[in-house]
Subunit: 336 residues, 2 copies
DNA sequence: CCTATAATCAAAAACGTTTGCAAGGTTTAT
DNA sequence: ATAAACCTTGCAAACGTTTTTGATTATAGG
């Protein structure tokens, strides 16, 4: 049996309440007794039971991160930033993979509530019904979303400036002389990606000579990028530039293009979004829009902890990080 | 205030113990009362407090995964497998990044113990002192290691057949005609990588015409691969083939080689280990040793749950997964 | 020297569950 | 018909902490 606070109380001849105070460094315990208690606790290798503590304090010192898939390098980076920040404040982080499945996502939240986590960080990418949003709002624990949400609801949000990123990509491609342009993006209703698409097509439509890109929706991963690029080649052989809504999709697109005998960037330029580490090693190195993934994860739990510290209802915080273009070698000028 | 079991007891006119039994589907409660209780619980939106339950049952329904860095695609894949398996059994998974730091690793374990996790899955890659191993053995919660450990200690282990993988790489390179061979590997004392190295050099030394590869140690990531390849080029210009102990290191090596003006595979062949998803998209596609990452994570928590189910001291389980060579285009024949 | 105040600690309640035990009531078997 | 077995339920004790309250002692001010 594990040794409890009672054991160290008995062993040091004081009451458990005194042990508790001594160990937690609270005011009102004589330095002599404190030292004694500390010594005994050390000798007995006492480890406080955090679930017992959690029961009385109502706080579990645990945060949760629910992402669609941790294998997505973007989320891995966010997760690392989040975990580091949590660790720094002595919080644990539980990991959940929702696969964009609204039901699974809600099941996770429910389970997390039962466990009394102190905050949830999630990319609520799935379309939630009004009822679900309501349910989520009332869980009583702070939630920060990794994407901008409908302004009415009460979640805090943190994300990159997706719209600006889309604009950056559009301007870049346009200046390079491209006029037959495609945008490969994720599922409809994916908040972040929708914003990227919006910025992109808007910027192109406002160019000196407006361009209307073809926009294809698919899965946000390597596979999805491949499939969309294949579909694109079948329908629009003549595109000279592709903006992929994520680096993973860009990788898939590049693969499909190469298999179809296209050279990059000579035949078609490709630009991605995220700037994941691997984008430097693919060949050619991927031109992309950088967003601060680690910092987003980090900032998210900082917000979470701040909200968790305050009681009950707090004003939601919002934060958007700037993005910038990383020019590598997957795009080139198009003289038409 | 959240609503508790007492509320539903009062509301349905029965004792809390009956509510508990009804909700947990235990034997010995009349179907009428059960239905009533269930209805009331539903109406009141009752959510049991898992912390309180954990206190009495002594089980937290939580597992932990401590890896060196979740950004390493290998670990991301393992994590996903582990989380899926945990989710299937209604367990939560907390994520920890140890950075190969022995002290940080132990701090994590200590914190996890305080939280009464039901099992820990870790790649104990750091060199642990005898005292630390002992400490770990006595924590009282099942631990499964992602690498083979010293046989004396009581941890369960699960990993790929690293030695065989090393042999595979050696035989492949040798048959292709390479005789000037290098092996870029991770830090010394990295269990899995040491085994890969062992298999590799042994197989080469037992070849018809024995070869002694140069072995360089460094960091197990993209950066480390780059640095080692640069060092290698400076010291041994004449190598014609490189076996990298992980795909990430292989990517780094390829990058360094390309920057040094080498063509792959014409000038130098490169073979990796892991077969991460990205290895198909790098150019040239990477020839590598496949190990079943997702399955390893999955199997690890299955073992963990089995061990957690049984009481106290159980015989450790060991499992090793087979590996195989994936031939792509980063290696070619060498006629010397 | 006496009282008011502060410092130190013990006692006990609380947190929300599960669970062993016993008390009823109801069926079954003899 | 009665004892034995069984089913259903309530009661209360855990689980290991924190925290409030109150008592005892030491300190200080006059």
């Amino acid at each position: 049996m594990a040794i409890t606070i009672k054991d160290v109380a008995r062993e040091s001849g004081v009451n458990v309440s005194t042990v508790s105070r001594a160990l937690n460094g609270e005011y009102g315990v004589h330095s002599d007794t404190r030292e004694l208690v500390l010594a005994v606790a050390e000798r007995l290798q006492y480890r406080p039971n955090r679930v017992a503590r959690g029961l009385v304090t109502g706080r579990s010192h645990t945060l949760a991160l629910v992402v669609s898939d941790i294998r997505n390098p973007f989320f891995a980076e966010v997760a690392r930033g989040a975990e580091d920040a949590a660790y720094a404040s002595d919080y644990d982080l539980v990991l959940c993979n929702s696969d964009l499945d609204a039901e699974k996502q809600l099941r996770y939240v429910e389970s997390l509530m039962e466990k009394r986590v102190d905050g949830i960080l999630m990319n609520s990418v799935a379309e939630l019904s009004k009822k679900q949003v309501e349910q989520l709002s009332n869980v009583g624990v702070p939630i920060v979303l990794l994407n901008r949400a409908a302004p009415r609801n009460a979640f805090s949000t943190i994300c990159a400036d997706n719209d600006a990123g889309g604009v950056l990509a559009a301007e870049y491609l346009w200046k390079l002389g491209h006029r037959k342009i495609a945008h490969l993006t994720g599922p409809r209703h994916h908040g972040n990606m929708t914003e990227r698409a919006n910025g992109f097509v808007r910027a192109l439509s406002e160019a000196r000579k407006p361009v209307k890109p073809v926009v294809l929706h698919g899965k946000n991963n390597f596979q999805g990028g491949m499939e969309l690029a294949q579909k694109l080649l079948a329908q629009h052989e003549d595109v000279t530039a592709i903006f992929a809504a994520s680096d993973m999709m860009a990788f898939g697109a590049i693969r499909a293009l190469m298999e179809a005998g296209k050279r990059i960037p000579e035949d078609v330029s490709v630009i991605g979004f995220d700037n994941v580490e691997l984008s430097t090693i693919v060949n050619p190195p991927l031109t992309t829009i950088h967003q601060p993934k680690y910092e987003i994860g980090q900032a998210a739990v900082e917000i979470l902890l701040r909200l968790a510290g305050r009681g009950e209802h707090q004003a939601p915080e919002h934060r958007v990080f700037g993005v910038h273009l990383i020019e590598r070698r997957s795009c080139m000028e198009r003289k038409s």
